[in-house]
Symmetry: C2
Subunit: 574 residues, 2 copies
């Protein structure tokens, strides 16, 4: 069996079909009888409201029909959008003998977090087992296996020895271990092999991490795909043939069992076994912690750049840790020669900032450009002198500088076709410590889902992996500052980052109330202030560019808060 862990592009039907055909051919040449492709691999995942276009659904079907003959010589499970008179389904086509032999329709449709599947799809009502020569294979899609009431039990009762589950399962840090445990438990509980094929690649806010795997009936992993890259994983399940049909202990078999009413068995006609080839031994390097997150950020960034037709990016370098990390990720993702760091000093910029920004660019090997903003700032102050008459300088003048920088970066973007990467982290985005149209201006927000404390950890990982201080040590050590007025530091407005990040995790990711957060040991006034800042800055987040989700709840379609929101203001229960 082969698990083709491919990287489709949403909407690019023809290109996706070509990729499926190519991996199908590789799987056949490698001696596989069955090849799995990810959930909705014909359309890419998630296609979102493209699914509402009848023409798109028809085109996806036409692509599948044209693809089927190209998969002759192997049985393939290919995710696509199925349609009937009632509506559309998240489907998996069973391609056998170069034709569509059966279609399974996903039974459980996730509609939480980043998922909106009930917006589009009708749930399938029928589990499917395939009879492939003498082996019974249960077929599932993604969420099906996460549910205790999912089809696995009925498939096993119907004789399935292998359950194959095809996925587009978005990454967040730590999810791999959860998945592994789930698959092991499902396999052991049902006495079956489980083959789990996942997509790989970046799609707007999401990254799919691959890491397909097969586990045996004892729950042990027998094959694993690589993380964050395409892969073709071959596994020999090793069932003898010809062999008797599996008798489940204490179960009377398929016929007459009321509980199996919802199970359809599809027999795939004779196809001789593929010639066996010796499997090359391979080991997949496990990936976890900061290295794993770094890989996710790199893939999310490189795919956003490439799939949207960009070749180069630019980044405003401040000399601080956030922009340093973003530049390092960009350089590693798309090559340092495709990255321009833009240093934009003002009257408040320190000499240390200039030195650190320049050193970083040199270390990374990226282009470095200096665009001083003070002359423009001076003219803005002149221009606004009359309207501002009698008012003291405040955040208006600070934001003005950030917006001049945003304008300069966008001008470079417009002139040269570069994508602007923004550098805000999750702590800042959460409390709104960022200037809309200023440092928030750009197309992709690489570290948007990284709390500031994690920014430091990932930056350390960058240096560790490069075995040098590509991000200068002093960048780690100096106090974070926006440098928009004299002697400003982030901690003028915010609690220390370790405290801030812990409160934000409790509030933003875990939906804890002020009472609960106070009970965790945080100062009530500090926690209340942080929560209020989060609530009041929703309007800024609504206008922020997308960025890579790496936590269980990112700021984006994962978290859908009203802007107009009287809950915090009226103290509702707080």
């Amino acid at each position: 069996m082969a698990m083709a862990q491919i990287n489709p592009t949403v909407g690019a039907l023809a290109a996706n079909a070509r990729k499926i055909a190519a991996f199908g051919r590789r799987a056949r040449l490698a001696g596989a009888d069955l090849v799995l492709f990810p959930e909705l691999c014909v359309t890419g995942y998630p296609p979102e409201d493209l699914l509402l276009k009848p023409g798109f659904v028809a085109d996806n079907r036409a692509c599948l029909d044209a693809l089927a003959p190209r998969l002759n010589g192997i049985t393939a499970i290919v995710g696509f959008v199925d349609r009937d008179g009632r509506g559309i389904y998240n489907g998996a086509a069973v391609i056998h003998g170069g034709a569509i032999a059966a279609v399974y329709r996903k039974m459980f449709l996730p509609n939480y977090g980043v998922f909106d599947e009930q917006r589009y799809f009708i749930a399938g009502a029928e589990a499917v087992n395939l009879r492939l020569r003498d082996i019974t294979v249960g077929l599932e899609i993604c969420e099906d296996i996460w549910r205790d009431d999912g089809p696995a039990a009925i498939q096993a009762a119907g004789g399935a020895e292998i359950i194959v589950n095809v996925n587009a399962s978005p990454y967040h840090a730590g999810k791999a271990a959860v998945r592994e445990e789930l698959l092991a438990n499902r396999a052991a509980a049902n006495g079956v092999y489980v083959a789990y094929c996942n997509a790989v690649g970046g799609q707007d806010e999401l990254v799919f991490d691959g890491r397909s795997m097969a586990v045996g009936p004892d729950g042990g992993i027998i094959a694993a795909g690589r993380a964050f890259v395409e892969d073709l994983v071959i596994v020999d399940i090793g069932l003898d043939e010809p062999r008797p049909r599996r008798a489940m202990p204490g179960r009377a078999g398929l016929a007459g069992r009321a509980g199996l009413a919802g199970l359809r068995e599809v027999t795939l006609d004779g196809m001789s076994a593929a010639p066996k080839r010796p499997l090359s031994k391979r080991r997949v390097r496990p990936l976890s912690g900061p290295d794993e997150i770094l890989a996710a950020l790199r893939l999310g960034t490189s795919d956003y750049v490439a799939k949207n037709g960009f070749e180069r990016v630019c980044i405003g370098l401040s000399g601080g840790i956030d922009s340093a990390l973003v530049a390092a990720i960009a350089a590693a993702s798309i090559g340092p020669k495709n990255v321009t760091g833009v240093f934009m000093p003002s009257r408040y910029t320190s000499e240390a900032s200039r030195r650190d920004a320049r050193a970083l660019a040199r270390n990374l090997g990226i282009d470095f450009m200096t665009v001083p903003i003070d002359a423009v700032f001076e003219k803005y102050l002149d221009t606004m002198k009359r309207p501002f008459r009698g008012r003291r300088p405040d955040a208006a003048e600070e934001n003005m500088q950030a917006r001049i920088r945003g304008n300069c970066l966008m001008a470079l973007s417009n002139k040269f076709g570069w994508l602007v990467l923004t550098t805000g982290n999750k702590s800042e985005m959460s409390v709104g410590y960022a200037t809309l149209y200023g440092d928030m201006a750009g197309g992709f927000a690489v570290i948007k889902d990284l709390p500031k404390t994690l920014v430091y950890e990932i930056a350390e990982a960058v240096n560790r992996r490069s075995r040098s201080e590509v991000i200068p040590r002093c960048v780690f050590e100096k106090a974070p500052t926006a440098e928009l007025r004299p002697n400003q530091t982030d901690q003028d407005a915010l609690p220390p980052y370790p405290v801030l990040d812990a409160i934000l995790k409790a509030y933003v990711e875990e939906d804890k109330s002020l009472g609960e957060i106070t009970a965790m040991g945080f100062d009530r006034a500090v926690a209340a202030k942080v929560m209020r800042m989060v609530d009041r800055s929703e309007y800024k987040r609504r206008q922020a560019p997308p960025g890579v989700k790496i936590t269980p709840r990112a700021l984006g379609k994962d978290r859908r808060m009203p802007i107009t929101n009287g809950y915090g203001e009226t103290g509702g229960g707080r």
Copy 2:
């Protein structure tokens, strides 16, 4: 019976409860036995991810419990979030004798368009009829009545003579007539009275239009609430009492009917009828066409401003029709003294633009401010001279000017606490003919869902209603231009607006394919270009401020397209 068509604020639990108590008291004093409040009126609609916070749900319940005794003396239907061990429900509490006598749980949860109810709620499994003295009243929430398989039939079979349906039904132009027909059909088909109570008010992208109504068993309207304002509608259904229980022709009654298994009957114990008072005759002025849309835009704007704590707004006036209309709407919504028009001329600004902007401000009675941007623009050109060396002027320099204006408006916003209203229309937003962080910079996009052709119609309505040319005639007559380079007009880049708008409606709102649009009679190359512009500018729309939905499909959470989208580019089926 009373229908209390109130304007709650999302999250403002205590304030909403106070409003419910006040309207309940008014209904009781008016002689009503039963008062209806809108769907989820305790929390406001839609509460979105506030619903994921256990504390919020608990607070909403505590508010309801505290509210119940304040509704003594009348039976009230109050929308709130119900919870049990399994999860949460979109609930309607029956408050009777100052206590919660029963709860109905919405059975049909919309999960399309702007709705995400399956993200949060479990569907109720049981229809509810109330026995209130000798009358049987069926209770429903919103979507329940839109479905042919909804509970109305079973409620009528169970003896309901009146069906009450409480709503938070968002407005779009033309929806009122659809609703009216639906209610008339449901009433006639089931031989019942239908009382439909809707919310009113603006919430981010949505406007609720009120227009509660009651229809008789013949489908005729017997009472109607006003549009776009709070209202208390009293209707005397006029059933005699005491009276025999209704026998449905050909139906054997409640007991033993399998089809009624899902119906619960709740008997509300004796409460003497409220003293009858004569109903004052009232007529509701019907509202349709441009006047209706104008009213929706005004309410959406004034509620966004007020509910987010702003008092004043500013608007960049260009002398063109879009900013003129936005200024007129703002002046009418929050008062001309709270509106500042900011004219920001550059080297490309015509004398006519200046004259028209000034005339408009004078006609509307709003403040007028001039902030010339050329000095700043000059400094930007100086600053970018080196990076841009060897390149010809292009869209980069044009966008720079728009972004200088955005920066000036945001500076005024930051300095004085004004909300910036943006002026882009749906045609521009659809094709991306707008500058991100430039003219798109601001908090609320008033006419974001108005195609350009409709902008002119609504602007005509403004003048007609004011019986004068508040928007100067020449503003209607001149060719639309961004004035970002010499002699520029919109039609340099776009097809004529009537053509553009027709293609956009087919593509954006109706999901038509290129083949279908060509078959409608449009030039294939023109249609393909427009569609490509729409697809390629999704990244801009993702960073746009919210604005009032007035079409069946607005650009916002109503339309969820991927940014990374290979469909158009690879020609998939086109």
